[in-house]
């Protein structure tokens, strides 16, 4: 081994000992976790199921048929693609394709032809970290001369343009407009670029401290979250902009320190809300009334996605978690399906703007599942 060491790494015994001690403690806690007594709850559950079957037998056939006809599941396996590429992939409904990136390039997997096609070779720059696409545009950010540059490919004309600007992070597409966060002279703002002309405009100047979520787009609206602290109390404010008018049309406040995974769907701004200590919950502000509703959910969720009606929650499953499907009925989420036909753990739920649900499986084949709902 070389004798040369970076200065801060010349004496790391303290760090080493701290890592070992903390890891030992965590291992002990894991070993000491009490074994659950499954007998009594299992007996009660079996008894309850038995009673339910007797009472509900005339309706069972209809209910199951309704559930199975409510959505369809398509399993997709893309061979030889690393799991960490698939977990960041996204689906485009209009062209039936999954877009993903690897160390080698950006790819499209066509579900109808069942084949992958390399769209861009990125071997020189490595994996691109930010990527957005539609059936018309492919946009990615990658370093050029120690600066992040936005690359804009028109997939129909094959014209490639580059926007050298104050890009910092995030790429969000709305029709022929790109939205991103840029920092100009230390001042962060969200910008728009008209992709045909490359004309840029400031959409929103960031004045808050930070944010725990990315913006979210639904139809012509975008919501941009910011955390603000007044009198030692933190809240999350979401600013709503009309992307056609390029104008702010409202703002709403989540009275929570942390609002994660903000999603705008069907005139409601949803978020996973908590104050840092307690268990969080999914809530939504109706933009027509301004009312915040915390949704009653049957289990603690680690992640969620929604199309406004259906909710895919990463719900606790013994010592792990897996995605289950729920339906919003008034202020409550009721279980629609726990996907019994899929045996492996499901993770990373996300909905497309057209309402298709995409899930990653953690089985040996790293399959992905595309779930389409009946109209």
């Amino acid at each position: 081994m070389s004798n040369y060491r970076l200065n801060p790494l010349k004496n790391i015994d303290v760090n080493r000992n701290r890592i070992i001690e903390k890891t030992r403690n965590r291992m002990k806690q894991m070993e000491a976790k009490p074994q659950r007594n499954f007998r009594r709850p299992a007996f009660i559950t079996i008894l309850a199921c038995f009673l339910c079957i007797i009472i509900a037998s005339p309706y069972l056939e209809h209910t199951f048929q309704g559930n199975t006809n409510h959505f369809s599941i398509k399993k997709v396996v893309i061979p030889n693609v690393p799991y960490d590429s698939l977990i960041k992939s996204f689906y485009i409904d209009t062209s039936s394709e999954l877009i993903y990136s690897t160390e080698q390039g950006i790819y499209s997997f066509n579900l109808e032809k069942n084949e992958s096609k390399q769209l861009i070779d990125t071997r020189e720059v490595g994996r691109v970290l930010e990527l957005a696409a539609s059936s018309k545009w492919l946009i990615w950010a990658s370093p050029e001369n120690n600066k992040q540059v936005i690359h804009i490919l028109n997939r129909q004309t094959h014209e490639l343009k580059m926007a050298e600007n104050q890009y910092f992070n995030g790429l969000y597409l709305y029709r022929d407009t790109l939205i991103y966060m840029g920092i100009d002279q230390g001042k962060p703002s969200y910008y728009t670029i008209a992709l045909d002309t490359l004309k840029e405009n400031v959409l929103h100047e960031i004045n808050g401290e930070s944010s725990n979520s990315q913006p979210s787009i639904d139809k012509n609206l975008i919501v941009i979250p910011e955390t603000l602290t007044t009198n030692h109390k933190s809240e999350t404010v979401v600013y709503v902009y009309d992307l056609n008018l390029h104008k702010q049309i409202g703002s709403y406040t989540f009275p929570y320190k942390i609002a994660e995974n903000i999603l705008l769907k069907k005139d409601t701004v949803f978020a996973y809300l908590w104050n840092g200590k307690e268990t969080g919950a999914v809530g939504g502000i109706d933009m027509n009334t301004g009312k915040l509703t915390i949704l009653k959910q049957p289990a603690a969720a680690n992640a969620y996605a929604t199309d406004g009606t259906h909710f895919a929650l990463s719900a606790a499953d013994e010592e792990s978690d897996t995605v289950q499907l729920f339906m919003k009925k008034k202020e409550k989420l009721t279980l629609l399906s726990s996907f019994p036909s899929i045996k492996e753990r499901l993770v990373k739920p996300r909905f497309t703007s057209e309402g298709t649900l995409l899930l990653n499986g953690e089985g040996k084949d790293s399959a992905m599942y595309i779930i389409r709902f009946d109209d």
């Binding site: 040369y4 801060p8 790391i12 890592i19 894991m30 979520s213």
Partner: protein, 170 residues
């Protein structure tokens, strides 16, 4: 789950190496400690079976966990906070304090782009072979060689008035 004795042995043997690997990516001691803990816990919970060198397995897991962290939204959030709200924030102070302590060569290495940085660090500082580096970073040996070359070129520019003897030998 792994036998706790195996994890204990791995901790005593590899904690220092994994911590250094994490630091080369994250440039922050506190974050590097957290990442290495996560790696050992993942290893403890895994079904790892001896099919290669444990050192390489853990090193790769550390590198991948760091890369995932660098891509994550929470990292970007910290980056934004550090860039914009430096006066108000106290988190991750130690990396900022230590910046002063870094030598010119340290600063130059840590400011290289990620691809070149990992190649330079693994090859020159950890003395891995080109083949081992290529396995660590999941890239062909030719790519590693070209990253080493471009990394050295970048270092030359950064250290134009300095002695960079440590990087002269192949």
């Amino acid at each position: 789950m792994q036998n706790p004795m195996l994890v204990e042995k791995a901790m005593l043997e590899y904690t220092e190496l994994l911590f250094r690997i994490a630091y080369y990516y994250l440039k922050d001691k506190q974050l590097s400690e957290d990442i290495v803990q996560e790696v050992f816990i993942k290893f403890y919970c895994s079904n790892y079976q001896e099919h290669g060198e444990l050192k390489a397995y853990l090193s790769k897991m550390t590198a991948n966990t760091c890369k995932d962290y660098l891509k994550s939204w929470s990292y970007k959030k910290i980056l934004i906070q550090n860039k914009l709200f430096l006066k108000e924030t106290t988190i991750h102070k130690d990396s900022l304090v230590e910046t002063d302590e870094l030598t010119t060569l340290d600063s130059a290495i840590l400011s290289l782009p990620l691809k070149q940085r990992e190649a330079i660090v693994y090859y020159y500082l950890e003395n891995l072979t080109i083949k081992e580096v290529s396995q660590m970073v999941n890239s062909p040996e030719s790519t590693v060689k070209s990253r080493l070359k471009s990394g050295k070129e970048l270092l030359k520019k950064k250290l134009v008035h300095e002695d960079w003897e440590v990087l002269l030998h192949e």
